[in-house]
Symmetry: none
Subunit: 218 residues, 4 copies
C-alpha cells in the first residue's frame, strides 16, 4: 500500500494539524499529481479515491465537494506562486527593473511548468469560482503586489514611467497570462521559437514602462 507516493506540500495551509489531517494532505497531493498528469477535465473524485486507495466517500470527510477540493488546491498553488515570486523578488532588492523582469520570467515559468495547475488557478470558469472563499481570494491577490511594488520603486527611482501601479500590475499580469495561455493551448505558430516568444513578450512588456522619447500618445 503506497498511499503517499508523491512529494508532499509542506503544509502551507492553515490546518490545525490533528492526526487525521494526513489524509487531507494525501488527497491534496494526489489531486495535484493527477491534475498534472491527466488534466482538469479528466479529474474525478473516483480517480482520486482509487489513487489514494481510500473510498470516494472518504474524500468527502475532508472536503465538502469537488469544488471545495479544487479551491484548496488553487489556494496551495497561489501560495506556491507566492513563494516563488517572493524568492525572486528578494534576489533583486535594489534593482526594480531587473526585479520586474525576473518576476515576469518567474510567473511564466511557473505557468509552463505547472500547466494543469495553471489551468485551474487562472482559467476556471467564473461560476466555479463564485464560492471561492474571500480570504483565499485576498491571499491570491497578494501575488500581484510583487509586481506593483517593483513598479512603484521603479517610479520612485525615476526609472519607470508608471501612472497607477495597481492597474499596471494587472496589465502586466494580463500580458503574462496571455503568453502562458497561448503556449499551453499550443496556439503559437510553430514557426515561432518558444524562447524567443517569451523573451520578446517580457521585453516588450517592460519596455512599455520605460520612459520614452515620444511620450505623446494618450
Amino acid at each position: 500500500m503506497p498511499r503517499s507516493r508523491y512529494p508532499t506540500m509542506p503544509t502551507t495551509s492553515d490546518t490545525t494539524d490533528s492526526t487525521g489531517e494526513d489524509l487531507r494532505r494525501l488527497i491534496l497531493d494526489t489531486t495535484r499529481h493527477l491534475l498534472v498528469q491527466e488534466g482538469y477535465q479528466n479529474l474525478s473524485m473516483r480517480k482520486i479515491a482509487r489513487e489514494i486507495e481510500y473510498s470516494p466517500t472518504s474524500i468527502y470527510l475532508h472536503f465538502d465537494s469537488k469544488d471545495a477540493l479544487l479551491h484548496a488546491l488553487i489556494h496551495e498553488g497561489m501560495m506556491q506562486l507566492h513563494d516563488d515570486l517572493e524568492a525572486t523578488a528578494q534576489r533583486h532588492p535594489d534593482a526594480p527593473i531587473e526585479r520586474l523582469r525576473a518576476l515576469c520570467r518567474c510567473f511564466i515559468e511557473f505557468g509552463l511548468s505547472n500547466p494543469e495547475y495553471y489551468e485551474v488557478m487562472f482559467q476556471l470558469r467564473p461560476e466555479r469560482m463564485e464560492r471561492y472563499p474571500p480570504e483565499k481570494y485576498r491571499a491570491a491577490r497578494r501575488n500581484l503586489t510583487f509586481f506593483a511594488e517593483a513598479l512603484t520603486q521603479g517610479r520612485e527611482a525615476g526609472r519607470l514611467h508608471v501612472e497607477d501601479a495597481s492597474v499596471s500590475a494587472s496589465t502586466i499580469w494580463a500580458s503574462l497570462h496571455g503568453t502562458v495561455s497561448l503556449l499551453l493551448a499550443e496556439r503559437l505558430d510553430v514557426q515561432i521559437d518558444r524562447e524567443t516568444f517569451i523573451t520578446t513578450a517580457i521585453r516588450q512588456t517592460i519596455r512599455g514602462y520605460l520612459p520614452s522619447t515620444q511620450s505623446a500618445t494618450s
Copy 2:
C-alpha cells in the same frame, strides 16, 4: 415553439442554399448561445438539441460530430474577427500606430462582445484542436497578419521599433488575449475600472514598440 430565439449570424459562410440550411444555422447560433451561458465544459449535444427542440439525432444530420460542430463555430468566429479587423484596418490606411491601436481595441471588443466564441476560439485544449482542418487553421492565422502589417509599416515609417514583426504580432496578441481572458473569467480586481484597465493595457502594449531613450537591454 421558440426555435429561433437567438441573434442569427448573417450567413458568413458559403451557404446560400435551400431550406434545410436553416437548421444548421439554428444549431450554430444556439450552440454559441449555450457556450456563453454554460461554458464549453458543460456543452453537450443533448443540451443543444433540447434548446432547439429537435432530437439529438438531428444535429448529426448537419454535423458529423461534436468536434465538427465546434470547428465550424470556431471558423465562423475567426471569419467574423477577420471582418472586424479588416474594417478597422481600412479605417487607418496611412497611420500605422493609430491603426495598431485600433486593431488592439477591435480585438478586445470582439472578445468582450462575443464571449460565446472566445472560449472555443482561443482556449480550447490542444487535443480538441488536433483535428482542426488545416485550411481553417490557415484562415485563422491570417488574423495575425493585420497586426504584423501595421508593425511593419510603422517600422518602415521609422515610427516603431520592431525586430521581428511576426513574433511581435504574436506577443501583442498574447497581451490582448490575456486582457480579454482575465476580464471574461472575472478575475480582475473589482476595484479596477474595466475601461481604465483596457486602455492601459493597450497603451502599454503599444508603448513597448515606440522608440525609447533608454535602449532596452536584451
Copy 3:
C-alpha cells in the same frame, strides 16, 4: 460514382427483372460484401446506403425491412451453396462414398470461405428467422437432399449402413456445422492443425456409416 463495384450475383432469384431491379441487385451485392468485410453485427442500413451512394430510404423501396433484406441474402447464399453442392455431386455420379466425402468438404469450404455469410445463414437467432418465407425455407432444405441421396445410394450399393437417410443427412449436417462453427469462432485449440482437424472430422463422420464388425449397440 462507382455504384457497382462488387461482383454481381447472376440473378438466381425470381426477379421479373424490370429496369429498376438493378438497384435491388446492387443492394444485395453490396450487403453481401459488407457482411463479409465487417460482420453481421456491424451491418447497418445506413452503411449499405452510404456504400451504394443512395439514401437509406431507397433501400426500403426494395426491401420491407432489414430482416427482409437479410432473408433475401440468406436465400441467395443457400442457392449458391446449392450450386456448389450440385456441381460437387455431379463430379462423382457413381461413387456415393466419394461423393459424400466431397459434399462434406464442399460444405466446410463454403462455410470457411464465406464466414460472415455463414453466420447469417445458419446462426441467426430463431426469432429473426420466424418470418422467413416458407418457400425459401423449402429451397434451403433442398441442400440436405444431396447428402440424403448419397446416403441412399450408398445403402443401395450395400456400401453404407444407413437407417433413415433423412435423419442421417441431418446429423452429418450437424457435424459439419459444428466443425465450421468452431473454426469460425476460433475456439479450436491452437495446438491442433486446422487441416488435420477438418480431415479427421470428415473421415470420422463418414466412418460412422461404414459397415462395422461390432454391430453398434442401440
Copy 4:
C-alpha cells in the same frame, strides 16, 4: 418487487462472502435468463439493470465491464459443464465406450437445458473472447479432456480406433456442438423427431471410432 425470480446458481464460485455478493449472483442469474430470452445480441447492461430493478451503475459495482460480466458467466457455465461431465465420467469408470456415449449425451443435455449459457459459451465472436482471461480459458479446455481420456482408454483396451485422442476429442466436440446449435437455432426439419436426431447423432459419432471392416479409406 420481484428481484429474484430466476433459479439461482448454487454459488459454484469461490464466494462464501458477505451480504453484497447477493447482488452479484442476482446479476449473473438475471443475465443468464435474459440471454436465453433475447439472445446475446440484444443483451444490454440497461436491460439487466431494469430487470433486477437496480440502476445500471450498480452493475458496475460488481463487474468492471460488460465483457467482464460475460466472462464470469462463461466461466460459470464451463464449471458447471465440468461438474456434469465429471459426474458422468465417474459413473462409468471401466467402460470407455459407455462412458463416451454418456459424455456425449451429457454435453448435449447440458446445451439443451442451459441454452442461456450455450450461446455465450460457444458462439461468441472471437473479438469478444480476445480478452478472456487465460486461466479461465485453460479451465474451459479441461472439459475436452474427459472425452480425450475416454478415447485413450478405449484405444488402450483395443476397443476404439483412435489416432490422435486430442484431435478426435475436438471433432467429437464439433459434432455435439453442431447438434446442439441446430436444435437451439430451431433449424432442424420439423419432420425429424428431436430424440431420434440426438440418438442418431451420438451413435454415428461413436461408430466413427469403432474398428471397421473397411478400414481402407484415408
